[in-house]
């Protein structure tokens, strides 16, 4: 047993030395963005909501690195605080369906029969509607705001996690290590949570890294459509929408938050690829 353990440790250490390049690149891009978001008060001295109506639509300068918007607010400051808003909401909006979907999937897969049928038919109902149609409808009904966005995305997104995890659970529950725990007489909750979940969750984690890209796009889209986080809270989608009227005069107002969305999406996609490689999950 000791030798096996040592070999395992060595193998793991080698793997760790050879991190997938996509993971490193994605991590770096995202790291910078997350870092700016976390340390927003340190990288800008302006309050993102403070208006200066005497200095509107000013171009980039030493005082305002990216200029000011139509209400004289510092664009750089709104960009980094917008990253804070959007990334935070996206994180919660991916965590919540991740937890709910994983639990629903693992229990449905493990117990099967009536529970499985109920969960999966519920999932079919949700999948019957296009993602944006359902999210926009829910946000509209609940009223624009952070809470509504998270609820709406959760209601729609849990399905993907549930389906992925259910499939993996169906395979896992007949594996020998599970049968062994059953034979040992472990409680059902212990079998599911301690033995099955850790083995099926990696697929959900990898999916989450691509799902969060979709969520960020959804949050920005809702903001662009006026269904997002209410003003004056900075949000990339709202920045793009309000800059649109100045496309011929101040193109940078819409373009800068657009580039931020693209970079964040790119970083997360690379991170997801790298993570899939690392966790050896077939995508």
């Amino acid at each position: 047993m000791t030798t096996v353990s040592a070999e395992y440790v060595v193998e793991k250490a080698q793997q760790r030395r050879k991190l997938p390049p996509a993971l490193i690149a994605g991590g770096a891009v995202l790291g910078v963005i997350v870092g700016l978001a976390i340390f927003a008060p340190l990288v800008t001295s302006y309050n993102p909501t403070t208006q200066d109506l005497t200095n509107i639509l000013a171009g980039p300068s030493a005082a305002h690195w990216l200029g000011t918007d139509q209400l004289g607010r510092d664009v750089w400051s709104r960009l980094v605080y917008g990253a804070r808003t959007d990334l935070f909401v996206a994180f919660i909006a991916v965590l919540s369906p991740f937890v709910i979907g994983t639990l629903a999937g693992v229990f449905a897969g493990y117990f099967g029969s009536a529970l499985d049928a109920t969960v999966m038919r519920l999932a079919d109902v949700v999948v019957a509607f296009p993602f944006y149609v359902l999210v926009m409808l829910l946000v509209f009904l609940l009223g624009p705001g952070t809470g509504s966005i998270i609820i709406a995305i959760t209601v729609v997104s849990w399905v993907s996690y549930a389906r992925i995890v259910r499939g993996a659970t169906l395979v896992a529950k007949n594996q020998e290590y599970v049968l062994a725990t059953k034979a040992e007489g472990f409680s059902t909750s212990r079998i599911v949570l301690r033995h099955i979940v850790p083995n099926v969750v990696s697929q959900a984690i990898v999916f989450a890294t691509s799902d969060i890209v979709l969520d960020i796009l959804a949050i920005v889209t809702l903001g662009y459509l006026g269904l997002g986080i209410p003003p004056p809270t900075p949000d990339w989608g709202e920045m793009m929408a309000s800059g649109q009227q100045f496309l011929t005069t101040h193109w940078e107002l819409s373009t800068i938050p657009g580039i931020a969305v693209v970079l964040t999406g790119l970083g997360l996609s690379l991170l997801g690829d790298g993570l899939a490689e690392l966790l050896s999950v077939e995508r």
Partner: protein, 525 residues
């Protein structure tokens, strides 16, 4: 850009008054300054507007795009003068009013032909005007309710008898809804007729591709000698501001309706493009719903009115292309009082008013803004920031622009942005619509603020029944003072109509009522 200005007229008072001093003007159609030999004929004008027309039936149109296009297809007996202060004879050449003020006799212009070549007669006028109030549900039925009957003693005389003395009649005759079409739809059914309608205007309908373009061509029988100069006019629907602007710059279109104010100075420096701001009657308000706490409190309304920096709004939203408002009435109307004491920005006074109010430490409230309406979103965020120091926490609620006005009408708001414009040249429409309370039978209840001032109501009703403009002016001055003091809404600014057009376009003019006479427009080739 937003709601139709004509909607204001639908719900507005039927008491549209006209100063008779202005009404008796006997001018011929406006002569243009350009030497006749300089004018070039022919060509197609492409007029890019934000939305398409909705109907070709003048009695049923309420949106500005339909109205402003229709005014080039159908014509009225009288028209508003270019400065918006008086009326000019058009399809009628003159009128007489009986001493008892009940019988108006109009003499029709000879030689006016419909677009099918048939002459216009008094029967056509009677049919057209009778149609407006034929159904009570017609949007402008109220305009003609005072009319008892219309007689046609001969083909060139129309006698309109009113049920009671009705001074605004001449002004009513200049409203697009009273535009003249052939008697009995020229023998067709209403539906058949409006599929390819005809009027006496300078342009006639070639085809209407719904949602895309209304194509008009020159009326060969037009009564004004030598006009129109253009061969055709295409009203295209181009919703995106940036696209309209690029079309004019590239020559795809010649006129861009409502370029954003942010682009005006850029357009003014673009070679080959003229950007003009035409004086309009557009008055922008921040209004309060008095049925919702705490807006019944005068001090709260005054505090908010004092806290709003109008100059900053004009700079930030209109990019300086507007003026700070001092009165409920637009300067485009003769009754506007330049010295009316509309509340202006004064933060100290705002704090004092707030301290005297029922909520001295502030309160939370909701301000509705149209979703996707960049102007209202900017204004909303400015108000939100400016009321914060007073302890007033404003939540911006974005609502569907189509339901925004319905919400306001139904009193489902606390604070909202709104505006008023006039469709006629008399101040009464704006006063009735935005200042008269529900007790007068005015359905709009002071622009849906639910504000009531028996004093203002009484002055407004007196002003409707007086024929001397000087005496009416005195009453309107009092009204403007009282409304300013009571602040049922904060008057924000007066906004012009912005148009950008190719330098090849000549003779293009927009009146304060919003309409344009395209028979005067020509293109240099």
């Amino acid at each position: 850009m937003r709601r139709s200005t004509a909607l204001t007229a639908i719900a507005g008072s039927a008491l549209l008054m006209l100063p008779l001093t202005a009404a008796v003007a006997e001018a011929s159609p406006r002569a243009h300054e350009v030497r006749p030999d300089a004018i070039q004929r022919g060509g197609t004008l492409t007029f890019a507007r934000s939305t398409d027309i909705l109907t070709l039936d003048p009695t049923n149109m309420t949106d500005n795009e339909s109205i402003w296009a229709a005014e080039n297809i159908y014509e009225t007996l009288y028209v508003s003068a270019p400065n918006g202060h008086s009326l000019e004879p058009w399809l009628a050449t003159s009128y007489t009013l009986s001493p008892n003020h009940l019988t108006w006799t109009f003499n029709l212009r000879h030689g006016v032909r419909f677009q099918n070549g048939k002459p216009m007669t008094s029967a056509d006028v009677k049919f057209s005007i009778d149609r407006v109030s034929a159904k009570a549900t017609n949007p402008f039925a109220f305009i003609d309710t005072a009319i008892a009957n219309i007689a046609t003693p001969n083909p060139y005389t129309v006698v309109i008898t009113t049920k009671y003395p009705w001074a605004p009649l001449l002004s009513d005759m200049a409203l697009f809804a009273n535009g003249i079409i052939p008697d009995n739809f020229g023998g067709e059914t209403q539906a058949q007729f409006f599929a390819h309608p005809i009027g006496t205007g300078p342009f006639m309908v070639k085809q209407w591709v719904k949602g895309s373009v209304l194509e008009l061509v020159k009326n060969p029988y037009y009564w004004q000698p030598g006009k129109p100069y253009l061969d055709a006019v295409n009203f295209t629907a181009v919703p995106d501001d940036n696209t309209r602007q690029l079309q004019v710059e590239s020559g795809q279109a010649q006129i861009d309706e409502f370029p954003p104010f942010s682009s005006i100075s850029q357009l003014q420096h673009t070679a080959g493009v003229t950007a003009t701001l035409f004086p309009a009657s557009w008055t922008e308000f921040l209004q309060f719903n008095e049925d919702q706490k705490p807006f019944a409190d005068l001090n709260v309304r005054r505090a908010i009115s004092y806290a709003v920096d109008r100059e900053a709004m004009v700079q930030a939203v209109l990019f300086g292309h507007g003026t700070v408002a001092n009165s409920i009435l637009s300067p485009a109307l003769w009754a506007h009082d330049p010295s009316a004491p509309g509340i202006q920005y004064n933060f100290k006074a705002a704090k004092e008013a707030m301290a005297k109010s029922s909520v001295p430490h502030g309160f939370s409230t909701t301000l509705i803004v149209g979703s996707g309406d960049s102007t209202e979103n900017s204004l909303g965020q400015i108000v939100q920031a400016e009321l914060k120091p007073l302890g007033i926490k404003v939540t911006l609620k974005e609502v569907d622009p189509n339901s925004e006005y319905t919400d306001i009408q139904n009193g489902q708001y606390q604070m909202a942005f709104n505006y008023d414009t006039t469709d006629i040249i008399d101040p009464d429409e704006m006063i009735s619509f935005s200042a008269m309370g529900g007790n007068t039978g005015q359905k709009t209840h002071a622009l849906f603020t639910n504000w009531d001032s028996p004093q203002v109501d009484s002055w407004a009703e007196q002003a409707e029944r007086i024929f001397s403009q000087a005496q009416r002016q005195q009453l309107y001055d009092k009204i403007q003072v009282q409304v300013a003091e009571d602040a049922p809404m904060a008057f924000l600014y007066y906004e012009p109509f912005a148009y950008a057009y190719s330098t090849k376009v000549h003779g293009f003019d927009v009146y304060p009522t919003g309409n344009y006479h395209l028979e005067n427009v020509w293109l240099s080739h």
